[in-house]
């Protein structure tokens, strides 16, 4: 059987160094730097249009960046094709769910392990583990296109788990979920980074989820970093309050 070990780099850090990205005249990311450690959950927050999704797309190679560099440990992944970045140990989910709709839930998750070079049998074993972690056992044989919305999110996350990345970027995993579903997701995600030794970066607008889940926060506004630190620290930064609540609240 082919070796299909996870994360060939086994790096401790995902490092983003002064990344800049322009869309025509618009500066979507302005010299943004961040550092994601394995085992931690980092929240990436900011108002609409602040560049969160752009940052994820730039890191994962979906969009070329204009300047700056991205590393997984020692390995530079700047402007590499997305599939190479994934193989280097970086997984992601999408803001608008992207599942393989004509494949079963099982195949959706399995194919991520297969693309790591696992045999179908070993891939099935890994897929089942990821499926159990996200509570999808009852849905394995269903086509992904037939699932209820809340479960689609979980299949996407299970698929990313089956890739066995060192770092995982979740783009609004709680978008469109009700409070109950969002809590369920939170409980599933919370123990994962420690258990898997995985660095997790989460973008979300659900502040309740972010504040409870994340060890550290990184705040963007108009493509610039305006704050970093623990949730408590970030809550006290004037620029953050201003970005979220307006100037008057910050002044008062």
């Amino acid at each position: 059987m082919k070796d299909c070990e996870s994360g060939n780099s086994h790096a401790d850090h995902l490092i983003v160094e002064r990344v800049t990205k322009n869309f025509a005249g618009l500066r979507a990311l302005d010299s943004v730097s961040l550092n994601l450690k394995r085992g931690e959950i980092l929240g990436l927050i900011g108002p609409n249009g602040s560049g969160k999704t752009t940052l994820i797309n730039v890191i994962t190679g979906l969009l070329p960046l204009d300047s700056g560099r991205v590393f997984i440990g020692e390995v530079e992944i700047t402007n590499k094709p997305p599939y190479e970045i994934a193989r280097a140990g970086l997984g992601r989910t999408f803001q608008t769910i992207r599942l393989f709709r004509e494949l079963t839930v099982m195949e959706n998750v399995e194919v991520a392990a297969v693309s790591r070079g696992c045999s179908r049998k070993e891939a099935k074993r890994r897929a089942l583990q990821a499926i159990e972690e996200l509570g999808l056992e009852g849905w394995v044989g269903r086509l992904a296109g037939e699932l209820p919305y809340g479960l689609e999110r979980r299949v996407e996350i299970a698929r990313a788990f089956a890739l066995q990345p060192d770092f995982l970027l979740l783009d609004e995993p709680a978008a469109g979920l009700n409070e109950e579903e969002s809590d369920e997701l939170l409980n599933m995600l919370a123990p994962i980074p420690q258990r898997k030794g995985l660095g997790l970066l989460i973008v979300d607008h659900d502040m309740r989820l972010i504040m409870r889940l994340c060890h550290r926060l990184h705040v963007l506004s108009y493509g610039k970093t305006i704050g970093e630190g623990t949730p408590e620290e970030v809550r006290r930064i004037p620029q953050v309050i201003e970005a979220y609540l307006g100037k008057r609240a910050a002044g008062g």
Binding site: Y83, L99, E107, K124, R125, L128, E132, G141, A160
Partner: protein
């Protein structure tokens, strides 16, 4: 014992190719035993069509890219295989200007078929890596252009193809038995390809190429693999057809045939091997029936002018209706199988003897 069980389990969850091939095998045996010349010819063509349609399904069904170039590869396979299988005398008669090194070559049927298939695969491999970077409409247009290019070369490369004129003197090797054997073999090849790692990755890239890349799939590479295999099968089918029809011109490998093979796949269902098989059977017999109606109407003089193109018009209308009301074909992406999908998943989970990680269970109650 354990491997025996594993094989049984695998067979149980992969009944599709058996269910598809057993009725076809029966049909072949019955027609061989009791059928007249015409019926034997029709069923022989049916199996050759099956090779072509399944070859098309391998790429188009799994990658989601409409492939107009398929029949071009059939032409490459047909011409290449006959260049190797024809006797030197026949070559001298029909291709007097043939390159000297090709003149004395005279290989048996099967090696010639394989060489034809390999030639088609080689061309696909060379042009494929660039083409497979394209998706959607851009890919379709370029593949159509490739069909035109191949056709133009076949028409003008007189030294090896006899130009636009008919090439004759090919021996008739493709019997019903041979075409049935390969038709059924290719059912298994097409089905197994879907289940290989490459086939699975290709299907994933069909549904969403960005998500596929995000889990480490090199979309261009898996598409290329599917494209080359598909061209190989098309080349093989072309060789089978050439040694059945025995005289043909480059016009046999152009729009009419493209439409015919494409309509079989689309009517049956692009997404599944079952759909490809059902579509081939339905359309092949339907076409023969329509042709019979057309002929008898003309003989009986039912209309003032002869009825021309009735078959094509009827099939086109059927194709349009299918595209409107069942865009994924008669069977869609479902495979015919004995066990349900649910049973498959049960057998899948029974393969792991590992207990559920306790932390997951706790996680739910936090």
């Amino acid at each position: 014992m354990k491997t025996q069980n594993a094989i049984l389990l695998w067979l149980k969850s992969h009944t599709t190719p058996f269910l598809l091939s057993i009725p076809l095998l029966l049909l072949a045996v019955l027609v061989q035993a009791f059928g007249g010349t015409l019926l034997i010819r029709i069923v022989t063509v049916l199996f050759i069509n099956l090779v072509m349609v399944l070859g098309l399904q391998v790429f188009m069904g799994n990658s989601g890219i409409l492939n107009f170039a398929h029949i071009g590869f059939m032409g490459i396979g047909a011409y290449t295989s006959v260049l190797f299988s024809m006797t030197p005398q026949a070559k001298a008669a029909t291709l007097p200007d043939l390159y000297p090194f090709l003149r004395p070559i005279h290989l048996p049927f099967l090696p010639s078929l394989l060489i034809g298939a390999l030639a088609a695969a080689l061309v696909a491999a060379l042009v494929g890596y660039a083409l497979m970077r394209l998706s959607d409409a851009a890919a379709v247009i370029t593949l159509f252009a490739l069909l035109v290019i191949i056709h133009t070369i076949l028409v003008h490369w007189s030294i090896v193809t006899n130009g636009p004129r008919t090439l004759f003197g090919v021996d008739n090797y493709t019997t019903l038995g041979i075409s049935a054997f390969f038709g059924i073999l290719i059912i298994f090849i097409a089905y197994l390809f879907k289940e290989t790692p490459v086939g699975l990755k290709l299907r994933a890239s069909r549904d969403d190429r960005y998500a596929a890349a995000s889990i480490g799939i090199n979309v261009v590479q898996v598409r290329w693999a599917g494209f080359v295999l598909s061209a190989f099968l098309a080349g093989f089918g072309g060789g089978l057809w050439a040694h059945f029809i025995t005289s043909f011109s480059p016009y046999a490998f152009y729009l009419t045939e493209t439409f015919s093979i494409l309509s079989m796949l689309v009517i049956g269902g692009t997404g599944s091997v079952s759909g490809a098989v059902v579509g081939t059977v339905v359309v092949t017999f339907l076409r023969e029936a329509l042709r019979a109606i057309e002929n008898s109407a003309n003989i009986a003089g039912l209309f003032q002018n002869n009825l021309v193109g009735f078959t094509e018009v009827f099939l086109s209308i059927l194709l349009i209706l299918i595209l409107i009301y069942r865009p994924s074909g008669i069977l869609g992406s479902r495979e015919i199988r004995l066990t349900s999908e649910d049973l498959r998943s049960v057998t899948a989970s029974s393969q792991t003897d590992r207990p559920v990680p306790s932390s997951t269970k706790e996680g739910k109650h936090v």
